[in-house]
Amino acid sequence: MNPAIETRELCYTYEDGTAALDHVSLKAERGRITGILGANGAGKSTLFLNLNGVLTPQSGEVLLDGAPVRRDRKGLAELRRRVGIVFQDPDDQLFSADVYRDISFGAVNLGLPEAEVRRRVEAAMERTGVAHLRDKPTHALSFGQKKRAAIAGVLVMEPEVLILDEPTAGLDPQGVSGLLALLEQLRDGLNMAILLATHDMDLVPLCCDDAYLLGGGRVLAAGTPEELFRQPGLLRENHLRLPRIAHLMDILHDKDGLDAGPAATIGAARREILRLLKEEER
């Protein structure tokens, strides 16, 4: 099966001459969350704007479900329907002071009949848990609530690919857990391909199924999160680090000479430590 979205040798240079994307090739599969890791300025945001047709690459192509995207008006409209972006700052995305009307915007732009728009708005509000905020003005919402409303405004277009730029930045710990639960529900329930940019490394083993490391506009490494964590040097060169748990297991292995295997989540580390303890007993 074709990946939901794929880029081949994508290049993008800003007007001032900085190469933001340098032959980027990556893909995101349906029903999987793909993490795009990279420090500030690695090219994550530029990549996302290229994937959704807001920016046009100088060379290379974007493929949706195996078919190259046309850059004419119809092709772009199609691309924007199928690929939705949730921006980092919800205040950049919510343009209406009325939550319901803001969420309806994307669906109205698709030219759907009113009843269908209303059905989708209700479904998106239900899914993101903002239904009770419909009577509030946007400026009365908390940051986390604005974030959810912004996600609802993208879900209403029923995209196949959902892109989130630093989705957990600025959220409190419970807000982060809620968001992860929502993403998992979208991945498993709607079989969406989800791409998320982050430099919150502790988040990566929790939610990402695949990961790419981006640096200086190039793909430096690709694989499962566990595969990326085996290259701590490369992560550090790119201003990233191992997740705390993975780092701990690393130290136990290298410095303390324990026979601990790699583990990046609390669950995996617990299993590993229990295994070691049981071996000790025997």
């Binding site: 807001v54 409209a77 924007r80 921006f87 950049d92 995305q93 343009f95 002071a97 009325d98 109205v108």
Partner: protein, 259 residues
């Protein structure tokens, strides 16, 4: 945005804005055209009853909002009230200044009072709209009345981003104040200038990001959205007629009493 906060809590919040607009405008026009203080007072009272009974606003709050334009009205009416009269004219109260009397007589007092209450009535009529209709509903309604789309969209965007900008300005101000940026007039002025230019720059950059976000959601030149479901509110049309009839009845009663 004091009125807007109450508008979101109003029981008429979910009622179609058009009948609300029509009720407000009818009451306003009739009140202004009658040119009578009694009608003005009756209008302000009637609007108070409607806002509290239908919208669920506490009467105390309505009275508070009526007090806000009081100062403007008082100043405006004072200039209507005071005239200069030749010495010896019968007046109610006056001061002799340089051979003439400066003060007011019965007719001037009546005219000033009529103006004051007329304006109060007009304010009351507008409050019915403002205290029951959020701004976004009002602009939506203007769009339906074929006000140019560009104007309506600008109003909506400005209204939304007033809050974002004022938040930005507020946080810059706090950051400056926490480093003693507002001690003394000179420093205050310089800090204020820096803040203004920073807010402008940030707004400029934000505009780019907003445009990208709109485009990514399929923006094609118009900010068309679908409002939440409105209750039709057709009951407000006969109510508007009843209010107008009441206003006219007060006018005729006043004319009858005065002969």
């Amino acid at each position: 945005m004091g009125t807007d906060r109450w508008a979101y809590q109003s029981r008429l919040r979910r009622v179609d804005p058009l009948p609300k607009l029509i009720l407000s405008l009818t009451a306003l026009v009739v009140c202004l055209c009658c040119g009578s203080g009694a009608v003005g007072l009756a209008t302000a009272a009637a609007m108070g009853v409607l806002i509290t009974a239908l919208g669920g606003l506490p009467p105390r709050v309505y009275l508070h909002f009526l007090k806000i334009p009081m100062a403007f009205l008082a100043v405006g009416c004072a200039t209507m009230l005071v005239h200069s009269y030749p010495a010896g004219t019968p007046v109610l109260a006056a001061l002799p200044v340089g051979g003439r009397l400066w003060g007011f007589d019965g007719a001037a007092l009546a005219a000033a009072a009529a103006l004051f209450f007329r304006a109060l009535g007009a304010v009351g009529a507008m409050y019915f709209l403002a205290l029951n209709t959020p701004v976004t509903d009002l602009t939506m309604c203007l769009g339906r009345l074929h006000v140019p789309r560009l104007l309506v969209e600008l109003m909506e965007l400005i209204y939304r981003f007033i809050f974002v900008l004022s938040e930005t300005a507020g946080s810059i101000r706090t950051a400056q104040a926490s480093r003693l940026g507002y001690q003394g007039l000179r420093r205050s002025l310089s800090s204020l200038g820096t803040m203004a230019s920073l807010v402008f720059l940030r707004a400029w950059r934000r505009a780019d990001r907003i445009y990208a976000a709109l485009e990514s959601r399929g923006y094609a030149g118009s900010l068309t959205t679908l409002p939440g479901d409105y209750a039709p509110g057709r009951g407000l049309y006969p109510l508007a007629l009843a209010v107008a009839a009441g206003q006219l009845a007060v006018l005729f009663a006043e004319r009858g009493v005065l002969g």
